[in-house]
């Protein structure tokens, strides 16, 4: 029989031990307690969205291997990312790296997403590598992930600044819209095909709402959904946004005979979202700019200068000066 006294001694011993070894216990976004020994110097990210947070927090040099968000070597986003991280070619993983590839980089920590990579935590725990599970898939998740990563990498101040920027924009847009009593235009968000649309449960829909729009697909559940053109005519969106990835262009919709019946096409309010490092509609820090870009398109009367905002954002959080060609993309 163990006495309470014995248990107390063990607990104190464990606590002292962890202080001596300098470990920190964090609760990740799957609710797991993870023991980490800072400073974390070598991190592997199996979650492309989380990878982008490391860049915004200025700790990209600690990333030793990572997946990205639809990044192709040699593409314009690749060149942009190389200019803030010359080590990119060596750490870029095209697909999810295997257990051995990850272990070969001798990581202190692995970042993963429990939905995309359900087995990751057990897989690496068996080799003594702690795994932090992140879910930066919506506004709440973004807040949690940013704070958590700030704590893990010892850059909490910068994480707070990044979140404050986001919150300030959200508040500013909400105030604008309510003060001026702006109407909410009906918005459709199109993906990699003209008839593939973002559902009501996706981050893109959250962005539309925060930007003062009325997402027509709010009722749709799940992930991307394929719809019939008749349904789009019924929704009759006033503005159409097209995801930055995929081959769909505004011209495809503007020149199609059947789409002519749609208000957004008649008014030529069909826009392809920009991409600098990662696409602006994915829940990475750059989506904070995506929000402003959407608001500028939905409510031109607000006079939001997306180019100026983007210039400040990339300079402050990435130390990156937008080149001319990207300024054209962002302002387009």
């Amino acid at each position: 029989m163990r006495s309470p006294f014995f248990v107390a001694i063990v607990l104190i011993w464990v606590a002292l031990g962890s202080i001596a070894a300098g470990t920190v216990t964090v609760v990740d976004q799957a609710g797991r307690e993870v023991v980490i020994s800072p400073p974390v110097r070598r991190v592997v990210s199996l979650y492309g969205v989380a990878t982008m947070y490391l860049y915004a927090l200025g700790v990209q040099e600690r990333l030793v291997l990572g997946t990205y968000v639809g990044l192709k070597p040699g593409s314009p986003p690749w060149e942009a990312l190389v200019s803030v991280d010359p080590g990119l070619p060596d750490k870029y993983a095209r697909t999810r790296p295997s257990l051995e590839e990850v272990l070969a980089r001798e990581p202190d920590l692995v970042l993963a997403n429990p939905w995309k990579d359900p087995g990751a935590a057990e897989e690496f725990a068996a080799f003594g590598v702690p795994v932090v599970l992140l879910r930066a898939e919506d506004v709440e998740g973004i807040r949690g992930a940013t704070e958590l990563l700030g704590k893990i990498f010892g850059v909490s101040d910068r994480a707070k600044r990044l979140l404050a920027y986001f919150e300030a924009n959200v508040r500013r847009l909400a105030d604008f819209v309510s003060e001026r009593e702006l109407p909410s235009p009906r918005v459709l968000f199109v993906g990699t095909r003209p008839l593939r649309v973002a559902s009501g449960e996706m981050y893109q829909t959250q962005l539309i709402e925060l930007a003062g729009g009325d997402p027509v697909t709010a009722e749709l559940r799940g992930y991307w959904q394929d719809v019939d053109i008749e349904q789009v005519l019924l929704w009759d969106p006033e503005v159409i946004f097209i995801a930055p990835y995929g081959k769909v262009t505004p011209k495809d919709l503007l020149t199609d005979s059947v789409w002519q019946a749609i208000r957004a096409v008649q008014d030529k309010r069909v826009f392809k979202m920009p991409r600098v490092f990662a696409p602006w509609d994915i829940p990475t820090p750059e989506s904070f700019l995506g929000l402003l870009w959407m608001a500028a398109k939905l409510h031109p009367e607000l006079g939001i200068d997306v180019v100026a905002e983007a210039g400040v954002f990339y300079r402050e959080f990435y130390g990156y000066e937008l080149p001319e060609d990207l300024i054209a993309v962002v302002g387009g």
Binding site: K72, T95, R196, L220, E230, Q231, L234, K247, S257, A261
Partner: protein, 331 residues
């Protein structure tokens, strides 16, 4: 088992299905609008006219053609292989076409060439199968084994492509394509389906009399003066043309080619000269109805492959069981 009046009913089925499709959809339109649009009368809002003539009509016709081709090819394949469990997958056509489309999507080839790739690789797969089979005597068994081998090879390549594809843009395109859909079928697609396949469908309909001979034992066929291997090759090529065209337009729509011929046999008896046209008509009507459901049930489209399974399998299972209960065989 012959029944009077079955042929008019079989012809009426796809025609009625296409006609009804014009009246139903997510976008509310009055009967008058549809009728006036069809008769090219005035007084119809341009949106309604564009929807009926430019979207609903070509899509319904596309569904009918694809359904007819898949079912017709399935009936022909079942006949020449003397096996009720055979459909286009047995010869690797579907796997080849799927690989071709995925390859085109991975390489970022313009979308209008994706169909061409699917078509070419579907033909290539069957060409390989026939080549291998001929090398080893061309018996039905060798043909089926080489079909399974070639099909597996292309499936493995397809898996590799899916593994390499960008999960953000390319992989969804491949997955969508593999699930099968007639969404976005416009007149250009109907034109392609029609032109390419008149040859295939025509050939099958012309050869259908001789197919009965292939269902016999091979030695009996030779005794009747029919070159079984050559006839089989022609039927395979014609069927492949149909399947490759259907798959390249609408993606992988499983199952219709397998079970429709059984239903057709239940209605018109085992004679191939009847089974092939009956299968085509039933497949055409059936896929048109399913596609109508696919686009009008919910705000988002229900994948066609899902519907063919859920709605079709029980319905045809019933038909098939009844046929068996009455003592009918599969031939």
């Amino acid at each position: 088992m012959k029944r009077r009046g079955i042929w008019p009913a079989l012809v009426l089925f796809p025609v009625a299905a296409v006609f009804v499709s014009l009246f139903i959809g997510r976008y509310p339109m009055g009967l008058g609008e549809v009728v006036r649009s069809l008769l090219f009368l005035g007084g119809v809002p341009p949106t309604s006219r564009a929807l009926i003539l430019g979207v609903r009509l070509p899509r319904a016709l596309g569904a009918a053609l694809v359904g007819g081709y898949l079912a017709g090819a399935g009936a022909a394949f079942q006949g020449i292989f003397r096996n009720p469990l055979v459909d286009s997958r047995i010869l690797g056509v579907s796997a080849g076409a799927a690989f071709g489309a995925a390859l085109a999507l991975l390489l970022g080839i313009p979308w209008y060439l994706v169909e061409g790739f699917a078509f070419a690789f579907g033909l290539l797969a069957v060409f390989l199968v026939v080549l291998v089979a001929r090398r080893f005597g061309g018996s039905v068994l060798v043909l089926i084994i080489s079909g399974i081998l070639v099909g597996s090879l292309f499936s493995a390549f397809l898996g590799l492509i899916k593994y390499l594809a960008d999960p953000l843009d390319v992989l969804p395109a491949i997955t969508y394509w593999l699930l099968g859909s007639l969404s976005g079928t416009r007149w250009d697609a109907v034109g392609k389906l029609f032109v390419v396949c008149v040859m295939g469908a025509g050939a099958l309909l012309l050869l259908r009399w001789r197919l009965n001979v292939l269902s016999l034992d091979e030695r009996e066929a030779v005794a009747l003066g029919v070159n079984a291997t050559r006839l089989r090759t022609w039927v395979i090529l014609a069927g492949t043309l149909l399947v490759a065209a259907a798959v390249s337009q609408a993606g992988m729509i499983g199952w219709i080619g397998l079970i429709t011929p059984h239903a057709a046999r239940a209605l018109v008896g085992p004679d191939h000269s009847r089974v092939i046209p009956a299968s085509m008509l039933m497949g055409a009507g059936f896929l048109t109805v399913l596609d109508l459901l696919s686009r009008s049930l919910m705000a988002s489209e229900v994948p066609l492959g899902v519907l063919t399974g859920i709605v079709g399998v029980p319905a045809f299972l019933f038909l098939f069981m009844r046929h068996l209960a009455r003592g009918g065989g599969w031939r």
